[in-house]
């Protein structure tokens, strides 16, 4: 379902603890290869199962840029077009987001604050796949007041 970009959230209506809508990303080898071509990360563990296994992973897996991208989309769809992403991370890859699983991205508002004329929100973010947490971290963004 495409996001509704005509809607704009404001900082004043954001509540600490508020969940952002989760997003699911089915991870197939095709999708990882399309991403590798776009992201220019041709490290073999992200597209070549034989090499990934030789490197100690169970299969090919999403790279950290793909994880960042999934998080950015989830946050962008929440903060709207007038939101500004200020920081991605700290992001820790805790396990392999493998092809053949569905990555689920969740997030919630951890805190909000003002500095000068800017209105900040920090989101805690998590990715899971096959019931395993594959990445944890945060994104900081600003929203219109």
């Amino acid at each position: 379902m495409p996001a509704d970009w005509s809607q704009q959230r404001h900082w004043a209506e954001i509540e600490v603890g508020q969940q952002i809508p989760s997003l699911d990303f089915p991870l197939t080898i095709h999708r990882l290869v399309v991403h590798a071509g776009a992201n220019l990360d041709f490290a073999p563990m992200h597209h070549n199962p034989e090499v990934a296994r030789a490197h100690g992973a169970p299969d090919v897996y999403a790279n950290n840029v793909f994880v960042q991208g999934m998080w950015e989309r989830a946050v962008r769809e929440f903060i709207g077009l007038a939101g500004v992403i200020k920081k991605i991370g700290p992001l820790r890859m805790t396990s392999f987001a493998l092809a053949g699983t569905t990555a689920r991205v969740t997030g919630q508002v951890a805190r909000k604050w003002r500095r000068d004329a800017e209105h900040f929100v920090e989101f805690t973010m998590e990715s899971t796949a096959a019931d395993v947490v594959t990445a944890r971290g945060a994104i900081v963004a600003t929203l219109p007041a």
Partner: protein, 203 residues
């Protein structure tokens, strides 16, 4: 010829001392790493596709300008994309596709970045933190400056013996404006399953 025998020794951690000794220094010794290409609309479109990410700030110039940007902005998460060098070859380089093994890989240009310490044959990123100071827009050409080594931790994991190391870089655009500062940690290791084979660290 790469030498992975250090990973078999009881004192394998000692092999990382040269990298530990480099903590606080710029691993690139002042050299800049310039992205292979300007940020282009077509590259952004390809980046958005596997994410099914339809934010118009990333493809609609009028929408981007209406929100105060000088034009279409690139997704922030794609910073590594816009700072990537050519994968393996540029005009003037010698041939890199020199064997036809099904799983042979040419050396990655990024792997040519110097790092003291032992040879490794595998690696992956574990942590990243990136603060954005300004958007990067279509037409920008980004570059990395100052790959400062912050920490090194030799460690044996389930995939092999190696070390986690953290570097900090500054990302600038063609106007010398800082667009981002990034801290990232990688784990470089000798993979148990590949030990003895000669391959490039392609993490």
């Amino acid at each position: 010829m790469a030498d992975y025998t250090w990973a078999d020794r009881d004192d394998w951690q000692a092999a990382w001392q040269p990298l530990i000794d480099a903590i606080g220094t710029d691993l690139d010794e002042g050299a800049e790493v310039v992205g292979a290409d300007e940020i282009e609309l077509s590259a952004i479109r390809r980046y958005l596709e596997p994410l099914e990410f339809d934010c118009p700030l990333h493809y609609d110039d009028a929408v981007a300008r209406a929100h105060g940007y000088p034009g279409v902005i690139a997704p922030y998460s794609g910073l590594a994309t816009w700072t990537t060098q050519a994968i393996s070859w540029l005009p003037g380089d010698p041939p890199v596709y020199v064997s036809d093994g099904r799983n042979d890989y040419p050396p990655l240009r990024s792997a040519r970045l110097k790092r003291p310490g032992p040879d490794t044959n595998a690696g992956f990123a574990t942590d990243v933190e990136c603060e954005f100071h300004r958007p990067f827009v279509v037409g920008d050409r980004l570059r990395l400056e100052g790959r400062r080594l912050l920490s090194v931790l030799p460690k044996e994991t389930s995939v092999g013996r190696g070390a986690f190391y953290t570097v900090e870089v500054t990302v600038l655009n063609q106007h010398d404006a800082v667009v981002a500062t990034q801290t990232s940690t990688s784990y470089s290791y000798v993979a148990r399953a590949r030990h003895g084979k000669d391959s490039k660290d392609a993490g």
